[in-house]
Assembly symmetry: C2
Homo-oligomer: 330 residues x 2
């Protein structure tokens, strides 16, 4: 039994230390770690049973409180829940890594829960690709639900939507005028909008906001794969743990319908192909930043800088070196 | 004498039909056209004498009127002026191509002016790369000034700034509160802000807007390569052709200072290297969309879709096929 087989077997048994070690391999920048990570992913094919849920919400909407309340409700139902994050800003700031567990203190101590901060990579694509692999490891380790949260910076929602089965958008109560504040495109992605803070003084405002969004959602094209009533907007109170059961009922019903119609399997297959193409693109660009191409590139760049060779002609020369003589690149 | 040599010679003599034919080759998607375009660009190294000016302004600020007035003033001074555009939206809409000449009717009939609409390509990068090559052809054809305008969609200003010697931002008069309406990043790029419509009823509002922007520019870090007072904001009236001489004086002084200090030559070299790297990236990605790699990719994608191979493992296999056995891609 190889090291990898052993680690894979321990992950399948749900051993947390094995899972943590595997995640470290997946997130590592070292070539030998990467090779082992690929072996491991190959040995742990994605599980059909795990539901992968995307969650977006800007700072201040109570995302941590929601995840803690919602996660505790799910573990209380006997479910095992993993919480991952796609947050490219944490890479830049050196990591909000400490924050992830302290802001969800009770959930992080729950034996049925597993919280993992965002991988620290320099660019969103890298963060997302590694998070998707971490989600696969969590599925192999038997988690029933993998919740992938994002802070909604730039394209991060789109990336998370491409690695999850359904997508939640958490919002705070707001005046009707602010409806446009939601980024364009996010309404197209969201399957269920949760208007949080439906408690105390904000309760009636949350109800109005929810009605506003429900109205806006009705204007969108219905998704043929989904039952009537989706996408939908509901109110919750993470603080008072209210509305969370309804949220779960709505999530589970949507997931079941998508599974039964065969849509979920097709979507997962399409997503896998998307990430394959993305890996190829990134690997190719990575080659250019390493020897021997790095040196060839530098020499050609010198000629380009001196005006001796036009950029497109130099690019053609590099391609010939990289791929051998052949058709001219377009 | 080859066809290419002949065409290059005729371009150097400033023959407009030869220039138009060369531009058609540069903008073509056909492989044989592309090969000829590269030969041609190689035969016509970039001229040091041509000043390349970037211009951005959102619809409604009077950009066409400004270009017409400003262009006619320059041709009136005996200068030859080419006007190019980077407008990725024209590709999608099937081309606002007819528009470019009708909206600058007098300038388009001027023998010293040459107006060329945006190349129609599906993505901004392609539009920008080809526009930069067209600018090189115009320089070889002896144009003193190449003005490259952009509508300010997405990243287009950044792209235009990377192919020009200095950058103008055309604005309309506005209340002080609207100062923030200018996209983040554009203030960093603009060398000279021109507040247009300083005529009739809007005159005093234009003066106030100009003062607001002048104040905002003072808060930015001074660029060490530039004389005192830059970046600057001035008022113009394209309609009354007022302030255009001042604008040209300011542009020429900035260009001269940047040339004398050696900054311009360095910036042009850096820009060329940037476009070289961009060409390499795009050519590599282009390979993946054509045979034989397209077929290999499709076969691997099938395995990925069926869950038999993780995306990253399949990507590694494709890289081996593409580049030969070697180090594992990261």
């Amino acid at each position: 039994m190889t090291d990898t087989d052993d680690l894979a077997a321990r992950i399948r048994q749900g051993e947390r230390r094995a899972l943590a070690r595997a995640i470290t391999l997946v997130e590592s920048g070292r070539a030998d770690h990467r090779a082992r990570a690929l072996d491991l992913l190959d040995a742990l094919p994605p599980s059909d049973d795990t539901l992968r849920i995307g969650l977006s919400g800007t700072p201040g909407v109570g995302k941590s409180t929601f995840i803690e309340s919602f996660g505790l409700m799910l573990t209380g139902m006997g479910k095992r829940v993993a919480v991952l994050a796609v947050d490219p800003s944490s890479a830049r700031s050196g990591g909000s890594i400490l924050g992830d567990k302290t802001r969800m203190e009770r959930l992080s101590r729950d034996a049925r829960a597993f919280i993992r901060p965002s991988p620290s990579q320099s660019e969103l694509g890298g963060v997302a690709r590694r998070t998707r692999e971490v989600a696969q490891l969590c599925a192999a380790a038997g988690f029933d639900i993998v919740l992938i949260e994002t802070v909604g910076v730039g394209q991060s929602e789109t990336q998370v939507a491409k690695m999850t089965d359904l997508f939640l958008l958490l919002l705070a109560p707001a005046g009707g005028d602010e409806l446009q504040g939601v980024k364009r495109g996010i309404m197209e992605i969201a399957d269920i909008i949760l208007v949080n803070k439906a408690d105390g003084e904000l309760r009636s405002q949350a109800m109005r906001t929810c009605a506003d969004y429900a109205g806006a959602l009705r204007l969108l094209r219905k998704r043929p794969q989904d039952p009537n009533g989706y996408p939908k907007a509901i109110t919750v109170s993470a603080l008072e743990a209210a509305g969370l059961e309804q949220a779960w009922t709505d999530i589970a019903a949507l997931a079941e319908a998508r599974r039964d119609s065969g849509w979920l399997a097709r979507a997962r297959a399409d997503q896998a192909v998307h990430w394959f193409e993305e890996e190829v693109r990134q690997a190719l660009l990575g080659r250019l930043r390493r020897e021997p191409l790095k040196g060839t590139m530098a020499a050609l760049a010198d000629r380009v800088a001196r005006g001796e060779t036009p950029p497109a002609v130099a690019a053609q020369e590099l391609l010939s070196v990289m791929l051998g003589a052949g058709e001219a690149p377009k």
